[in-house]
Symmetry: C2
Subunit: 148 residues, 2 copies
DNA sequence: ATAATTTCCTATTAAAATTATAGGAAATAT
DNA sequence: ATATTTCCTATAATTTTAATAGGAAATTAT
């Protein structure tokens, strides 16, 4: 299951997505509107910025914003940044590979590994096709967003 | 990621699968051969028995055994018994459904939910097709197993 | 019967991960 | 200067996971 952190991240990012190119959005506004604990959200947004998904500016009128349009921000990246591996076993992870400590079998011969490789493949196939835009509710439009 | 518990369960079950219809296997034998902490394994096997996957007998000559052939024991059931939901969000879980506490959107309209429903569907499609047999390494044969 | 073996069961402890909070430094705008 | 806002590190609280302890109950063998 996704952690709270990852779920909060998704909600904060859709919030910013709905305000894309409308300037900087301060943490407290997101926290209040989406009912996310302020300090926790602060830590989350910081991580998303370090991952290159968000930009920020300090000081009055400052806040966070998406560095790319929602179409170009991929769900897998959000998930990996927040929760780490997508795969169900370390030995089958693309980005966070590790040998399975517990497993007695040599990797290439391991039937368990084969099965979970297959699971990872279909999961990634879906996940890699999903962007922040796909996570945004369609009806939501904001006053200054005349682009559509 | 799978918990240690689920991984241990899989290894214990493949071990029992390799000895299917060869009588009762005591915990200590599995624990030693597969290097699983005895007491932890005990708790795991107990749960698997309560889930109907294993049968047991106490006393001398006792131990655990599969209640069904490996072909009929499904990976999803093992995973759900050990780790709970397959889905990445509670609102999208088949067996462990719960509304998402964090989410502000009404369920039917929620775009996030739609995406993770799709993820769950493809994951389950693969997982539901996998049995314990698929997790067992093909070469493994034991002396008394003349069936092949 | 008795002893040995093995699972059953509940409780508890230990460790790790997750979920948050605190407090002040640094940057920016007015 | 002052107010605002992010940055950053540390730490506290809570929950989950991982593992252990100890004895009861069942079964088998002698």
């Amino acid at each position: 299951m996704l952690s709270n952190k990852a779920q909060y991240a998704i909600h904060a990012l859709t919030y910013l997505g709905e305000r894309y190119k409308q300037g900087h959005v301060p943490i407290n506004q997101i926290a209040e509107d989406r009912k996310i604990p302020y300090k926790f959200l602060e830590a989350i947004l910081l991580e998303l910025r370090k991952a290159g998904i968000l930009g920020s500016r300090t000081g009055k009128g400052g806040g966070y914003y998406l560095t790319k349009p929602p179409e170009e921000i991929m769900l897998v990246q959000i998930m990996r940044t927040m929760d780490g591996p997508i795969a169900l076993l370390p030995c089958v992870s693309k980005v966070f590979y590790e040998p399975c400590h517990i497993c007695p079998y040599p990797e290439p011969a391991c039937a368990i590994r084969q099965v979970f490789l297959e699971v990872r493949d279909v999961t990634l196939k879906v996940l890699e096709g999903k962007s922040l835009r796909d996570l945004m509710n369609k009806e939501v439009r904001f006053p200054t967003d005349f682009s559509i």
